[in-house]
Symmetry: C2
Amino acid sequence: MTIKDVARAAGVAPSTVSYVLSGSRKISAETGDAVRAAIAELGYHPNAGARSLRSTRTNVIALSLPLPSRGYLPVGGRFMYGLSEAAREHGHDLLLITAGDGGSGLERVARSRLADAAVLMGVEMEDPRIDAMRGLGLPVALLGRPADEAAAPWADLDWAAAAALAVRTLHDSGHRRIRYLATVEADIRTRRSYSVRGIDGARRAAAGLGVSAPVHPSSPDPAELARRIDALLAAPDPPTGLAVQHPAAIPGILRHLSRRGLEVPRDVSLIAIGNFPEDLGGLDTTRIELPVPEMSAAVTRLAVAAASRSDSEAPDPGSGILIPPRLTRGGTLAPPR
Amino acid sequence: MTIKDVARAAGVAPSTVSYVLSGSRKISAETGDAVRAAIAELGYHPNAGARSLRSTRTNVIALSLPLPSRGYLPVGGRFMYGLSEAAREHGHDLLLITAGDGGSGLERVARSRLADAAVLMGVEMEDPRIDAMRGLGLPVALLGRPADEAAAPWADLDWAAAAALAVRTLHDSGHRRIRYLATVEADIRTRRSYSVRGIDGARRAAAGLGVSAPVHPSSPDPAELARRIDALLAAPDPPTGLAVQHPAAIPGILRHLSRRGLEVPRDVSLIAIGNFPEDLGGLDTTRIELPVPEMSAAVTRLAVAAASRSDSEAPDPGSGILIPPRLTRGGTLAPPR
DNA sequence: CTGAAAGCGCTTACAG
DNA sequence: CTGAAAGCGCTTACAG
């Protein structure tokens, strides 16, 4: 089942079938209809290998996944769905590249021309993958905002604004003893963008409000996290408001507070940053949700644009798309007693 | 950067480079070394499109994802990681196919020869994708055990045995009023394999033990699920033991029981089936975990085998790999009062 | 408005 | 033990 079969069935030349498919040439209505009818009847789909060999376009986007940090995994799954559907809307498929093969995966994809562009997930402030791909001719789009915002096109939730919104909302509600529970240490250490920017946003917001909001890293180990919360509560000025950027930890934190006899929001208020309602299992939490569909659509658009730019050798405008945070009211926020 | 460049650098013919790469011909040590040195120095990777056009092998495995049911999503992410890494170990990459484009995605992949084989996730007892792919020449391997076990190679946790193990463990512990909280209704209605087999295993085990263990569907809505649990507890013979096959619901269930003043395991025992320790957020639950790495490795092996079989036109042995359940002891099981 | 032909980068019989 | 050549199924200048 090749383009020749379609051409024979429609009574035209193979090249005419190709032109009907690509739309890059004016075709008479009758010819076009005959070709389309033959394609539909035979169920013809162009051979992907032949097409990519000839045209140097694969219609595939590679997704470079970070090493699965324990806190990040459930989020990764949503993005894979979101990105895959967004890619389809642009006529592309999504190829998964795990960091498991030592970062060489992306280079392999670039050199063997398996994809037209790559979306990088788990972006670090200074992400080595950006420079690595520059020389290899694989355009990238970042799901995360790097330190050098002109290094590559990127899309991200405005984590700094999200953290600031959480701190400001607690402050507006009357809280003065606020703590910022950041992402897990591993993410801070590797300078994951959402991690660094969240902390930064929280600190700036606190400074702007003239309030103190010390930052504490979270832990993937619930028992260890519980110990840290105990330490906070045992301090001379225990917090009345918590902003938490570690989504997976929310249920455990609420359980621990309740075990300690603290009622939320009567004794402690809490705002969750960057999570999904589903992951909260019915907990009615005041929160800033992670806008996965918007982020997926935005970064995919950038990746597709970068891929076609690489055809025309046009310079990379280095655009960034910042998605503003939105607060969802829930039952974990109240004025301090 | 093509095979010709490597050939020139090594002072041999392009075909010789190809033979060194494939290992399908005896090559002298010197020639082989020269070629390998040139490949390493130039950073050569064969063009994927050219290779697949010529050899009809893509070294890509397609992953057909089910529609993201709310209960299943976090699990999907783990499998994507697990399958991607397993595929790499066999020299393959993983291409994501979402059900979003109406099931046509797999057919498109088959007809355009984008992949050598497909792994089907979210398998139903009578899964239409199996027959659909048979005529299209895309070999499949199922991540789930279908009703017709000879229809295609498959790998799965033994959900029937898992459910039976949970019921039996409760029974051994002294429980006689047991309830089986199955998967969400949508999964039962579409006859997802894990759902049907779990229910079946629970019923058989209960019958074998001469105990009654009525089955109740779970709900993706925590409030609705809470109402159903209330109904169970308000019945004349309230349960002392619950087996729950809806992983995402465990934290919510435990919270609801505690809100009702019931202590676990003093008043009610609970065994969770098919979840991840990470998703429990530190809850020390007696459970049967989902063996994602084993399942991923097994189904990938089957997919790769099916792909090479399709080259040699050998018949499909229709093998099935059943992974036995393992109980992890936790703090939610005790004899009834 | 349409067709014949070249060629993308590989693999693999054919030949020596 | 190695090479020259054909051809996989497309796309796209070239030609009319």
